[in-house]
């Protein structure tokens, strides 16, 4: 799968997912349960997500940076909010732990085409997580949200230093939107 980052970020998680009530809500519920099942049985330790509480429409995701990238060994948390019209509309995905990355802004918004206009109903939680994981190691420098990160991306030692500094500076107070 190819993903190209584009300029506009996904809108931040200001709108809470509506509680399911209709028959449509039931089928979304079922779909999410099935996705959870496949995700759990896939057994890939670097990608994981789980509903946060009693609401199956809001998940927390965890991804680990891919091997061979500067993000190797680092863990990031994500917040996934599914609309009731899922899977016909993309979920809102944001980083809930700080992430120093050319296509991620300071609020954790992610700039990823498949979460915006290239969304399709065949994508699922696993493919989203996979796309974000590969976005980490392979950013789209043409439409950065974080100009500083984009400018030093090619200078690996400096980038790594900035990344670790950014990470350690923020881990003290994990931010939840």
């Amino acid at each position: 799968m190819s993903q190209t980052a584009i300029g506009s970020p996904t809108t931040g998680g200001s709108k809470a997912a509506a509680a399911p009530s209709s028959a449509a809500g039931q089928s979304v519920n079922k779909r999410l349960q099935t996705e959870l099942m496949t995700l759990m049985t896939a057994g890939d330790p670097s990608l994981s997500a789980f509903p946060e509480g009693d609401n199956i429409f809001q998940w927390t995701g965890t991804i680990t940076g891919g091997a061979g990238t500067v993000y190797e060994g680092l863990t990031f948390k994500l917040l996934l909010k599914f609309p009731t019209s899922y899977p016909f509309e993309a979920p809102q995905v944001t980083f809930s732990t700080p992430c120093f990355h050319p296509n991620v802004d300071q609020y954790g918004n992610i700039c990823l085409d498949i979460l915006k206009e290239k969304w399709s109903a065949v994508y699922n939680v696993r493919t989203i997580l996979l796309s974000i994981q590969s976005l980490l190691g392979d950013p789209n420098l043409d439409s950065p949200l974080n100009g500083h990160a984009a400018s030093i991306w090619h200078n690996v030692p400096e980038y790594k230093k900035a990344l670790l500094k950014h990470k350690s500076a923020h881990t003290a107070e994990p931010r939840r939107p």
Binding site: M40, S48, F50, D54, I56, W59, T60, T62, K77
Partner: protein, 678 residues
């Protein structure tokens, strides 16, 4: 009013006492009446005592009324003075009381001697004669008693319009009531011996139809069931059997099914709580010896198979017949009896035995699933491809559960038939005469229940045989008609028939599972193994291996040779099969149970592995959670899909499971919160 002093239960005492205490109230007329009353009542009581002593003697009261004019005069006087009603009431009360307390129990004492021989044992002619004699004596005594009472009644009746029949009805009512009470007390035993106790059930039905003791019967039976059936020590199979008998007996007793409804509630709830109920029911459905459960459908099903090639006209005829039957049921409709619980729909009451059993769970899916599992077991352990009986069972169940519910089972049977064709076709191509070493069963994964996926190293000979089969399969005619498929072997399933040769003799046709056979094969090539080396060789974990070895040790095919210093167990194959070896009783049975339990355990483990992934997933993302939340989340997010039931463990079970994960170093527990160990 002096009349009030004539208390029916104290026929004369009160009157005499009253006379002594209040002489002023007693007119000469009243004194005269009292005297007559006392004479008559005394005479009746005396007669009653005589009857009790010897029912065949004619009562003195009747004799005296006929012979002594004085007695007649007394009776006339009492009747003249408007005391007739009182006398009758007193008399009836006495008759009733005696009937209950003396005559009927006495009758029963005789009657009970009848089944003195154990039921089911063919009794000799002499014993039968004795039984008949006892029965006649008992009936005779009772009828003589009733007869004597009636002659006394007839004397009193002369003063009224003779209504013998009414008196008779009264007596019959008392008799029925007494008999009914007795039968109600024995109802549970009657149900247990059901088809044999049919006459007693009919007695009771006769009684209940007159005396309306229904609620007594329900109460007594419920109490008996509670006290004697629903106990932890009773086999589920027995409970089901009694339940089935109860359904039959009570539907005999009370066709409307109201009583059954009232009684069965508890049994159903209890059975529902037992874990092996479904399996027991399905077993009894498919076991030819107990399949009388299906008898009402059985006949229909046979009809159906008889005209197997039914054409359209036959179907039309059947439709017409059905329509007629519908009309008949419509016309035969009767309102629910008065004891019915109006909060329940009456449609359920007419269900037959099987639907009642199925209704314990309220859903057919569970039964169908269990049947599927059992069918899979049976098909996989059968070494020939003979499925006639299974096909028959399936057809019977289809009649009950519908085609769609059992379509998967249909596919399973079809798989077997197809495998047979395939295997034969493939074996034809092996022209070295070694055919029939391996029969493959090719199953459609989607339609079969989850199959155990144990892997181990099969003997080399078998592996090459499998490879040959696989190659032939890939080129066989099968591939031309079907989309190409790849064979995935499941080495743990199936059945192996072996001939085991020792120096002194050969044991033929030993049937066992492939893993058992593999173990034995290993001992064939090398007579001594330690548990560890064998486990490494066969790639089976030591625990499983030890369990499987037990079968051969039991049969004496392999000997345990003590432990080495590091706790490893040594085994050896004997060269001669000693006397104690072959067919040690119970050996086979142990194994069967062990294998079944192992499969269930394996499945449980597989389920738990899924939960483990969920637990790891939620803890990865949500950092740390208490037990109750984990339990809640599993309950919410592990869906029930297909044959799986979804998550249904208790919190305690989950705790044990999590504890195991903590011990395995996967999780850690601190301050009541579980989290991933880094």
């Amino acid at each position: 009013m002096p009349l009030a002093v004539f208390n029916p239960s104290q026929p004369w005492g009160d009157a005499e006492k009253h006379q002594r205490e209040h002489p002023e109230q007693w007119t000469p007329e009243l004194i005269e009446t009292t005297a007559s009353w006392t004479v008559i009542v005394r005479s009746i009581v005396q007669s009653q005592q005589e009857i009790m002593a010897s029912p065949t003697a004619s009562p003195a009261f009747v004799r005296r009324c006929a012979e002594e004019p004085a007695m007649r005069a007394h009776l006339d006087l009492v009747v003249d003075r408007n005391m007739y009603g009182l006398l009758k009431a007193w008399f009836m009360e006495g008759v009733r009381e005696r009937l209950f307390n003396h005559a009927v129990p006495r009758f029963w004492r005789h009657y009970r001697e009848l089944p003195a021989v154990a039921p089911g044992v063919r009794s000799s002619a002499a014993v039968q004669r004795r039984i008949q004699a006892a029965f006649f004596a008992a009936t005779h005594e009772l009828s003589a008693y009733v007869g004597a009472q009636l002659t006394m009644v007839s004397v009193l009746e002369e003063y009224e319009t003779p209504e013998m029949s009414r008196w008779l009805a009264r007596l019959q009512f008392f008799l029925r009531q007494a008999l009914g009470s007795l039968r109600i007390g024995e109802l549970f035993d009657l149900i247990v011996d059901f088809p044999d106790s049919m006459p007693a059930i009919l007695d009771l039905r006769e009684c209940l139809s007159h005396t309306q003791q229904h609620s007594d019967a329900v109460r007594a039976l419920s109490a008996a069931i509670e006290a004697r059936l629903l106990l932890p020590g009773v086999d589920t199979a027995n409970i089901i059997q009694v339940y089935v008998s109860a359904i039959k007996a009570l539907s005999c007793l009370d066709p409307s099914g109201v009583k059954l409804e009232a009684v069965s509630e508890r049994v159903r709830a209890y059975l529902k709580a037992r874990p092996d109920t479904i399996r027991q029911i399905v077993t009894s459905l498919t076991d030819p010896e107990t399949s009388e459960l299906l008898e009402n459908t059985g006949s229909e099903a046979e009809l159906l198979t008889d005209d197997g090639g039914a054409d359209g006209s036959l179907y039309d005829a059947a439709d017409a017949e059905e329509a007629k039957a519908d009309e008949a049921t419509m016309l035969a409709w009767q309102p629910d009896p008065i004891q019915a619980d109006p909060s329940r729909p009456s449609a359920r009451r007419n269900a037959d035995v099987l639907s009642r059993l199925v209704n314990i769970y309220g859903s057919r899916a569970l039964f169908v699933n269990e049947f599927r599992n059992m069918l899979a077991d049976k098909l996989l352990t059968a070494s020939d491809y003979d499925t006639d009986r299974e096909v028959r069972n399936l057809e019977l169940l289809k009649k009950r559960f519908g085609e769609t519910a059992l379509s998967q089972c249909e596919v399973m049977l079809k798989d077997i038939a197809e495998s047979k064709r395939n295997t034969r076709a493939i074996q034809q191509h092996f022209d070295d005469g070694s055919a029939r070493v391996l029969d493959a069963t090719i199953v459609s994964r989607l339609c079969w229940p989850a199959l155990a996926n144990e892997t181990f190293e099969l003997p080399a000979a078998l592996v090459s045989e499998m490879a040959r089969y696989e190659k032939q399969y890939a080129h066989g005619p099968y591939m031309h008609i079907k989309a190409p498929r790849k064979l995935v072997w499941k080495p743990a399933l199936g059945m192996v028939t072996l001939d085991v040769t020792f120096a002194d003799r050969t044991v033929k046709n030993v049937r066992c599972s492939p893993l058992h056979a593999t173990i034995l094969d290993a001992f064939g090539t090398q007579p001594q193994w330690s548990l560890r080396t064998l486990s490494a060789k066969l790639k089976v974990d030591a625990q499983t291996l030890k369990k499987r070895l037990a079968l051969w040790i039991n049969r004496g095919f392999i000997l345990e040779k003590g432990r080495s210093a590091d706790g490893d167990v040594n085994y050896e194959a004997p060269t001669h099969l000693g006397k104690g070896g072959e067919g040690r009783p119970g050996g086979e049975d142990d194994e069967e149970e062990g294998a079944g339990g192992g499969a269930a355990e394996a499945q449980l483990d597989a389920e738990m592995r899924v939960y483990e992934q969920y637990v790891i997933g939620m803890l990865t993302n949500l950092t740390e959670l208490p037990l109750a939340r984990i339990n809640n989340m599993l309950r919410m997010f592990v869906p029930a899909s297909g044959g799986d039931r979804g998550y249904d463990r208790s919190e305690a079970e989950l705790q044990r499971f999590l504890q195991r994960l903590v011990e395995d170093g996967k999780l850690e527990l601190s301050a009541g919160m579980y989290k991933i160990r880094r």
